[in-house]
C-alpha cells in the first residue's frame, strides 16, 4: 500500500525541524527524513541560537531545551600575528528573564527539537538518506526516493531542508550547486574545561556566556572568520574561509585552526583543555544574490539549502528556523483553502519570506559578499596589520614625539593602500553596508 503524506520534510536540522513542527502541530500528516543515526548527528554549527525565532515556534522552549549559556558579552577582534585590537560589548541588560541569545550544542539541541517534532505528531524516520526527488509526467514533485528497500514515499509537497550540500535540489536541477566562492568551509573543535575555569577566564558567572569573533591574519589573507563560543563546560573554537580561497591558496583548514589555537591571544583561553571532537561544515556565504528559486510545483526550499545565511551578522540558524516556519505556514494556508501545492500557490512562501527579516536583511547586505571576497587580502590582512601597528604605536611610550607617530601611522596606511585605495575602500564599504 502506498502511503501518502501531506508533506515530506527532507532533513532534521534547524529549518527542517521548524517546518516539520509547524506543519505537524497544525494537524498535517508529516514525514521527516533524516540520514543520521539520530537528529543532530550530521549537523554542525558554532553555535549561537537566537531566542526570538525559536519562541515563534516553541514559545516555552526555555522549560526543557538544552541551552548552554546566555550571552552577555561579545568581542570582535581584529588580529595580526601577535596582537588583537578589540571592540567589546558587555551588558548586564542581557541578564534578563528571557535572554536573547544562547550558546547551544547542536547534537543535543537537535535531539530535543526532534522530540518536539515527534510530540507534535510527525513521523521522523532516521538512518534514511533521501537520494532523489520523484516527479510526475508534468514535472511536479510528488515524492522522495530513499535508500531504504522499496523506499519511495509520496506527499503533496516536499520541503527541502537538506542543508547547504543537499543532493536532491541540485540533482533535480531545482537549484545550482553552490559555487566555491559562495560557500565557506569551517572547521571546529570542542575544547572541554571545567565550568569554573571558563567562568574565570572569560569573567562570567553562572550561565553567563561570552563570544569572541576574530578577523585578520588568522585567515592568511583569505576571506574568513575565527570564532570562540563559551558553552557550559566547553569552548567551541573554529575558523572558516571561502572554499575558493582555500583552493587558490592551497591552505589546509586544520592547519589554520591549529595556528589560530596557538595565537598568543587565544592560547591562554583554551590552555589545558581536552578536545573531544573535530568537525567540519560548509556555510553559505553568497548572500542575497545566491538565493535560488525558493518554490515550484510540489516543493519549497528552506534554510542553508536556500543559502539563507547572513554572513555579516553570522546569523544562520535563525534564518533557517524562520524560513522553515514560514514555508510551513504558507503550506498550511494553501491547504486550508483546499488549494493544490502548485508553483502558483506556493509562491505565497516567497511573498511571506520577502516580508520577513530574512530576505530584508540579506537584501541590505547584497553587495557585501562580493566586496569582501574580491578584496580579501586588504580587509583580512593589510588593514588588520595596519590597525595593530597604529594601536601599538599609539600605546608604546618611547620618546618619539606624538606628531611624528601620527605622521608615521598615516604614512603606513597610504603606503599600503594609497590615498585613492583608502578612499575607494571606505566608499565601497559604506555603499555595500547601506
Amino acid at each position: 500500500m502506498i502511503e501518502q503524506f501531506d508533506a515530506i520534510v527532507v532533513g532534521a536540522g534547524m529549518s527542517g525541524n521548524a517546518a516539520a513542527y509547524t506543519l505537524a502541530s497544525q494537524g498535517l500528516k508529516v514525514l521527516q527524513l533524516e540520514r543520521g543515526e539520530y537528529p543532530g548527528s550530521k549537523n554542525v554549527q558554532g553555535a549561537i541560537m537566537y531566542a526570538n525565532m525559536l519562541e515563534k515556534i516553541i514559545p516555552d522552549f526555555r522549560d526543557d531545551a538544552p541551552l548552554e549559556r546566555h550571552l552577555v558579552e561579545q568581542r570582535l577582534w581584529v588580529m595580526d600575528d601577535t596582537s588583537h585590537t578589540g571592540i567589546h560589548y558587555r551588558s548586564d541588560d542581557f541578564n534578563e528573564a528571557k535572554p536573547n541569545r544562547y550558546t547551544i550544542i547542536r547534537a543535543q539541541f537537535d535531539k530535543w527539537f526532534s522530540r518536539k517534532v515527534r510530540e507534535a505528531g510527525a513521523t521522523v524516520l532516521c538512518e534514511t538518506t533521501a537520494t532523489e526527488l520523484v516527479r510526475d509526467g508534468n514535472g511536479k514533485v510528488i515524492g522522495v526516493r530513499t535508500d531504504r528497500a522499496g523506499g519511495v514515499v509520496f506527499a503533496n509537497v516536499v520541503v527541502l531542508a537538506e542543508g547547504v550540500s543537499g543532493l536532491l535540489g541540485t540533482r533535480a536541477g531545482l537549484r545550482e550547486m553552490p559555487k566555491p566562492e559562495t560557500v565557506a568551509i569551517a572547521v571546529k573543535e570542542m575544547h572541554f574545561l571545567p565550568e569554573e575555569v571558563i567562568g574565570q577566564r572569560f569573567g562570567v558567572k553562572g550561565d553567563e556566556g561570552c563570544v569572541i569573533e576574530a578577523v585578520g591574519t588568522i585567515s592568511r589573507s583569505m576571506a574568513g572568520l575565527g570564532f570562540l563560543y563559551t558553552n557550559k563546560e566547553s569552548i567551541s573554537l573554529g575558523i572558516g574561509c571561502l572554499v575558493s580561497d582555500f583552493a587558490a591558496t592551497m591552505e589546509s583548514p586544520s592547519a589554520l585552526l591549529d595556528a589560530m589555537k596557538n595565537h598568543p591571544s587565544i592560547r591562554p583561553l583554551i590552555a589545558g583543555s581536552e578536545v573531544k571532537e573535530y568537525a567540519a561544515h560548509l556555510i553559505p556565504e553568497g548572500g542575497y544574490r545566491a538565493i535560488p528559486q525558493l518554490f515550484g510545483d510540489g516543493w519549497v526550499i528552506v534554510g542553508d539549502a536556500a543559502q539563507l545565511n547572513n554572513a555579516i551578522h553570522r546569523e544562520g540558524s535563525n534564518l533557517a528556523m524562520t524560513s522553515g516556519r514560514v514555508a510551513a505556514e504558507a503550506i498550511i494556508k494553501v491547504k486550508s483553502r483546499n488549494g493544490p501545492m502548485t508553483k502558483a500557490n506556493l509562491a505565497l512562501y516567497k511573498t511571506m519570506l520577502d516580508d520577513s527579516f530574512v530576505i530584508k536583511d540579506l537584501k541590505k547586505y547584497k553587495d557585501m559578499p562580493a566586496l569582501l571576497h574580491t578584496n580579501s587580502s586588504n580587509f583580512f590582512d593589510s588593514y588588520p596589520r595596519l590597525m595593530s601597528h597604529a594601536a601599538q604605536t599609539f600605546m608604546r611610550v618611547d620618546g618619539t614625539p606624538k606628531i611624528e607617530k601620527e605622521k608615521n601611522t598615516t604614512a603606513a596606511f597610504i603606503n599600503a593602500r594609497s590615498r585613492w585605495g583608502l578612499v575607494s575602500d571606505a566608499v565601497r564599504l559604506a555603499l555595500a553596508w547601506r
Partner: protein, 99 residues
C-alpha cells in the same frame, strides 16, 4: 612544517570522532585519471579530514573513512567530473557527538 606532520595531526583529530564506516561502500569515488586537475590536487590540502592523498604516480586517491561529509570536495570537483559524490547510506558515516 611538513605535509606529513599536518597529516598526523589531522588523523589525531579524527580519532576523537565517532564513525560508522560502511565497509567496502565508499560514498565518494575519485574517477581514474593520469594527472589530477587543479581542483582535485587542491583537495589534498583543502579537505579538512585529509581524505585525499597523492600516490607515487602523482594521482589523487581517497580514503573516505574519516570523511566529515562537509561537501567541500563536491563543491570543487563534482561538476568537473573529478569525483562521484554521494552521502553515505542512512545511519553510516560520521556521527557527531556535539556538532
Amino acid at each position: 612544517m611538513t605535509i606529513a606532520g599536518t597529516k598526523v595531526r589531522v588523523e589525531d583529530k579524527l580519532y576523537q570522532n565517532r564513525y560508522l564506516v560502511d565497509s567496502g561502500r565508499p560514498h565518494i569515488i575519485v574517477r581514474p585519471h593520469d594527472k589530477p586537475s587543479a581542483n582535485l590536487l587542491a583537495l589534498t590540502y583543502v579537505c579538512p579530514a585529509k581524505c585525499y592523498e597523492l600516490n607515487d604516480k602523482g594521482q589523487v586517491e581517497i580514503t573516505a573513512d574519516g570523511c566529515m561529509e562537509c561537501g567541500t570536495c563536491r563543491i570543487l570537483c563534482e561538476k568537473g567530473g573529478d569525483i562521484e559524490w554521494n552521502y553515505p547510506r542512512g545511519g553510516f558515516g560520521v556521527l557527531f557527538k556535539f556538532g
